[in-house]
Symmetry: C2
Subunit: 589 residues, 2 copies
């Protein structure tokens, strides 16, 4: 199935809703003009549609393959990756110091969406490299930066993140991998699991970032250090030389993303893998946290990006497939099932949530741009809070909703959807990892309730509510009937956010706050989605394209009427939380 990048909607969100103009005014982002951004989106859309999308299904069926000599990616993968890095896509949003193009994260979010929509298993490779680059760039010595960053930014080498161990899962306090000092480096040993693109044949070197403990490190999270551990050690001239003692010993047999190798990595089977300390000892977890929001935003983008692709396929099928007399449409015989009201409603359910999630993700990316580049400390701090608050919502809600959307996309196909060759099932298989990795939805919810609401004293929430109230006032003051309709809908969701946050801030029993975290997150998702669509309906007033305007208005109206009410179920559930729900001894369950 071809992928058609929704450039028109992306540009609408970037330019009219999420503040590209203001991002363009930030120091360092002067090149990110509307014209340049539009040109980049057009080119990226072509690459995604012409190079990545055609590899998606075949890559899933062939899958990555493991042998003693290393992991091989599916046919065509290597050539596509070479084209990808040679065209400069890998370096788009990195700082210019080591060859990056210095484009804002806001643009990068839109471009990443295209990689994930067209081929999520491929898109994961640059996503992981991005995390490793940022870790090195933010915390490593100049020597390490000089040795690794240029090639990683260009895409000639890829990066990986080695956090999880079999016994530890999400609990990094339990990390056991060891790092023994040995001259100018350390010798690393231990096993890591779930390492995305931990080994592959796309590039001549792979740079692992590894969490491990030095011999005298304190227990728990305060004793974890971060190391750079290349697959091939570098020669004096900087080229890859001797093989390091780090190997992929197997890859996982997974529900989806078959073309993305998920590796079990073994470090130090032959004496120890050479690793170079990033920053200082025992600060590894803190370094990881500085990247975590960005990685989580990226996974949130994956969630709705797969939803976009599922929508495109379902919509195409529903226009083409004829079955039974239809209630909508012209009344002629032989019209597609898209003219069944229930099918149309399924498509609107998919489309409206993708559009809301897109605004939320771009808002989050823009917030990080302001937080890193704005000249005013207070503004930076405010946007840092906003980005931090939106991150678990984007990661948690957009991936949960992404799973629902891909499942609904299968449903639109009827029996054909369950047949693998149709292609709709792959999206569900692929997207299903997104609410799990980079912190499960439960972990996002815990982050939202704890770090982003309670520990912050509600400041981030209050700032969000103030912005939402401004939107509500603008809607109510507008002469536009579509805006006027949205005002009280948004008002109800503002009240829910305020009420739930008050409940959390006043609740003294941590069990009850932990218990409602998931409902709080989902309620916040539907409610900030409502805000996203409210701003969209405001912004579209000045749109010149009548078709786009009508479509955006119908999609927003559908969101307000049919999707936003889902917040209520979650809101009532969190209001109803009670210790009786936990009164049963676990062995009875």
């Amino acid at each position: 199935m071809s992928y058609s990048a929704p450039v028109k909607d992306m540009r609408f969100v970037l330019e009219q809703v999420s503040g590209l103009d203001d991002v363009n005014k930030l120091p360092g982002y002067e090149d990110a003009t509307t014209d340049i951004v539009a040109a980049v989106l057009e080119e990226a859309g072509k690459f995604a549609g012409e190079v990545l999308a055609p590899l998606n299904w075949a890559g899933d069926q062939e899958g990555a393959k493991w042998s003693e000599d290393g992991v091989t990616t599916p046919a065509g993968w290597k050539e596509a990756y070479q084209q990808f890095s040679e065209a400069g896509w890998n370096s788009l949003a990195f700082d210019t110091d080591f060859g990056g193009q210095g484009m804002p994260g806001l643009l990068s979010a839109a471009v990443q969406e295209m990689w994930h929509s067209s081929n999520m298993a491929f898109g994961l490779c640059p996503l992981l490299t991005q995390g490793a680059v940022h870790a090195i760039n933010s915390h490593a010595s100049d020597a390490l930066k000089d040795a690794y960053l240029e090639k990683m930014i260009s895409g000639e080498w890829t990066g990986t993140m080695n956090l999880t161990e079999p016994q530890a899962g999400s609990d990094l306090a339990a990390v056991r991998s060891r790092a023994e000092p040995n001259g100018d480096h350390y010798l690393i040993s231990g096993q890591k699991i779930f390492i995305t693109y931990g080994d592959h044949d796309l590039t001549e070197n792979t740079i692992h970032l590894v969490l491990a403990r030095t011999p005298d490190a304190p227990a728990g999270v305060k004793g974890i250090s971060l190391f750079v551990c290349p697959k091939f050690l570098l020669n004096a001239d900087g080229t890859p030389g001797e093989r390091n003692d780090a190997r992929c010993v197997s890859i996982e047999h997974k529900l989806g993303i078959h073309a993305s190798p998920t590796c079990v990595m073994s470090f130090g089977d032959n004496g120890g893998a050479v690793g170079y300390l990033v920053g200082e000892e025992n600060r590894g977890l803190m370094y990881m946290f500085t990247m975590m929001n960005e990685a989580r935003l990226a996974v949130g983008i994956e969630g709705y990006a797969m939803g976009e692709m599922a929508y495109q396929r379902a919509s195409a099928f529903a226009k083409d497939r004829k079955q039974g007399p239809v209630l909508l449409g012209s009344g002629n015989e032989g019209e597609g099932i898209i003219n069944h009201p229930d099918v149309r409603r399924n498509l609107m359910t998919m489309r409206s949530q993708v559009e809301a999630a897109r605004v939320m993700a771009y808002d989050c990316a823009a917030a990080f741009d302001f937080a890193s580049k704005h000249t005013d400390d207070d503004v930076r701090a405010r946007f840092d809070r906003r980005g931090a608050l939106l991150t678990p919502i984007v990661k948690g809600w957009s991936t949960e909703v992404g799973v629902d959307i891909c499942s609904l996309g299968m449903q639109v196909h009827g029996g054909m959807g369950f047949i693998e060759e149709t292609g709709a099932a792959q999206y569900l298989r692929d997207v299903r990892i997104t609410p799990i990795y980079e912190g499960t939805t439960g972990i996002q919810a815990n982050d939202l309730v704890g770090r982003k609401t309670q520990y912050d004293g509600g400041q981030g929430i209050e700032e969000l509510l103030a912005d939402m109230r401004d939107t509500q006032a603008a809607l109510a003051d507008s002469g536009d009937e579509h805006c006027k309709y949205a005002a009280p809908v948004l008002g109800r969701h503002i009240d829910m956010i305020a009420g739930a946050s008050r409940q959390i801030l006043s609740e003294e029993n941590p069990v009850l706050n932990a218990a409602i975290a998931n409902d709080y997150l989902m309620m916040m998702g539907y409610a900030t989605g409502c805000w996203a669509m409210a701003r969209s309906v405001l912004a579209v007033q000045s749109e010149q394209d009548d078709d786009f305007k009508a479509l955006k208005r119908a999609t927003c109206r559908f969101y307000f009427d049919a999707i936003a009410p889902r917040a209520v179920g979650h809101y009532q559930a969190l209001e109803n939380v009670n210790e009786a729900h936990f009164s049963i001894a676990p062995e009875l369950l």
Copy 2:
């Protein structure tokens, strides 16, 4: 993973909630005493746990295989099927005329739940045979009954249902297969798709029921006839003889139920397959409809049965898996993640919906028992309406919720859930077909709004509401605090059902009723689930087992507090339905 049949909860529902005592009083069901039913459940649970469950994962991985000589099932399948039929499981709920054991559908529902929980791909084979037996038994000549029923009821032969054609999908009006009269039989030609167990190696014969058109048949649904078309024609002595001209030409590569062959069947490639008319010409679709409610109930059972299995696995994992400090539990280190409030809540979300769905399915099965066996015409008619009303809710809601539950079961496993060998992903892959086949959720919703609400003038709904109000009164009058708590919760859901049904009955625009059908169905599911749990909390007052009592009360309370509110989102969505949602030309979508 082993399967432990929830016999205790099944017995509670059968005996205390869904009226086994009254079913036992129906003529013909005198043998279905509490003791007999309990003994059958114990034995069935053993068979499911010891024979079927161990084949589930290996069957998925090996899958059914096609060759020119026919379809082969995975290793162990044939032996298990022989044990299954020899133990009499196939004949449990068939009338005694041709060797059935004459047990009520209510007991059969519980036993079927076990087959599907332990091995859904296996359970599909007897499910299809059941449909074919009922078609023949209800509508075929004595000669056909004599020739086929005994072996099909014993399980020596299996049955299939050949409805779908590639161009027709769910629209049976478009069926094109032909049936030419030829002496005492017809010659059938045409292609059928999605034929479950259309070919296999489990038995010496397979009896296809096929929809086809005779030469002079009127167009559309009124020109479809039903035929019996055996894989092997019968010799004079009734044994299988000559191969009929009906072949499986390929099997589908599916997301799940890999061990269940989904066949493309070709009839008449060599002149015509011999078929015998069931009943009269042109009445085939009506004959199919008489079986449809039962088949849909069976698929609804599949949905929550898979949810039960997903729950059992997730619960076992969450008790065993240690990760991070937990808020619940004894405060000792190293306690399972089941002591994280969010994980506990996921498990309660799974468990409470499975228990509600179980009551709804057993209620539906009991209604059919009363509708077929009660001596009073009015009572029969009333229960026929009740069964007909509950069927699309059980089929639609329990399968949609079944998908959610299996997805949540994966989620509880974290990253391990995405690894196929863990086994949790298979449940999601398998259950995902249940909202599609035997009529998609959209078709169920259409049935609920049209045939079961509008065309019935709301009679079935009014009867349901009257029963729900009786329960509400009993809860309010009870001295039990748990019951008193439930009364107003149930009251709110009664009001939603009443309001939504009024809206449907008064709406004159068929587009709007078709558009809200899905939300109406889902609201009805959560609301009748609330009634199911309300009756459970009433009934459990007299329970002697303190652990069971406490667990049932906590599960019901959780359903009332955290699950039932989901009805509100759907209710508001249907209240908000508006023509603006359909104002966009389909080519813009």
